[in-house]
Symmetry: C2
Subunit: 213 residues, 2 copies
């Protein structure tokens, strides 16, 4: 179940959209086990203020999927317009894969909606802790999925219709959704590390702009 | 270097404060390697809008440490007052360990300050993506440290004095710090999984309040 090294898992847990297996069932046990690992992450003052909605009901997936598609389509329209204006090729690989996920969203076996008790405050000193108390656990969940042959991607499209989604999910007013993770087995197992800028270009020593020794 | 299983690393990467080795040097190479793994994390639209300041200069650590201590002390004062009001024992294990970190902060060998290009917008639909684009990478950094015998904890105290910290670090106006990670080797290697609520208490099926099957 857990034969990959940590470095390999950290290097190859990609945002999976095109390679989600829409036909293979995801066992409740594997989601449970990945959530169990997710909530081992630390949280501010150890409050564990996370809640997780695991959606398998087709009607709920259809309703959330509609919100996802509406907001996602608007995003892609905007992005394509920007690419056109800049004379860039359309569609890009990213746009392609986002379009695919929008097309099939309701067919993904499981949605996981991570939530936080409370609301963000609207300023960085508070909200860095608010979101910093949930996204490590979300990412642990994704890493645990990856190490078991499943994939997902953190999406936030449906938050454009946050209140409608909250009504669908029956969320209390003071609970905040922070994303929607479509979860499935992946159709391939050999993900490669993504190309990235070298560390030297994104890290500095002591002060902004100072090269890392 | 990377002999721990993923499940073990996800289960035992704790917020380390008491067990940071203040006397053992942290090699630049290990920080570099953990940053290299960190930036393999996905980011919204693959923008890789992260920047990382690796602070070793004692003067910079002293200046940031002062902001950290000031805000951290205020936090603990507030927390102790709340515990007193609730008739709870003081100090708790958590308060104890935070106090320790405040006491020794400048002696921690390395601070890493993760930053994002841009500013949060002050509403959840945008900010979930903003912070969701950095904290997975931050957590990967911490997991990579853990798998190499180092520890850290995500702190946000100094963000109470965000502008003063930005001036110390020479940050451009449109760059946002999201935390400060004190980084050191750990004085023990046998961290245990933290006690946590069972998954059943924090996860629901399809709708809020509905038991996970």
């Amino acid at each position: 179940m857990d034969s990959m090294s940590t470095d390999h898992v950290l290097s190859t847990t990609r945002a999976v959209r095109l390679k989600l297996d829409l036909h293979r069932e995801v066992e409740p046990e594997v989601v449970y086990e990945c959530l169990r690992l997710a909530i081992q992450a630390p949280s501010p003052s150890n409050r564990q203020a996370w809640r997780w909605i695991v959606v398998r009901d087709q009607q709920v997936k259809d309703q959330l999927g509609e919100l996802f598609r509406d907001a996602g389509t608007a995003y892609l329209r905007n992005r394509r317009a920007k690419s056109d204006a800049a004379g860039q090729p359309n569609p890009s690989r990213l746009v392609d894969s986002v379009q695919h996920l929008i097309d099939v969203i309701e067919q993904v076996p499981v949605f996981v909606i991570p939530c936080v008790l409370g609301r963000p405050r609207g300023f960085n000193a508070a909200d860095a802790a608010f979101y910093g108390g949930i996204f490590p656990a979300v990412w642990s969940f994704q890493l645990a999925l990856r190490s078991r042959g499943l994939g997902s991607t953190l999406t936030t499209f449906h938050l454009r219709h946050e209140q409608r989604a909250a009504a669908i999910l029956g969320l209390p007013d003071d609970v905040t959704q922070v994303g929607l993770l479509p979860v499935a087995y992946t159709t391939v197992s050999d993900f490669r590390p993504a190309p990235r800028q070298p560390v030297e270009e994104v890290a500095f020593a002591d002060r902004w702009g100072q090269p890392l020794a």
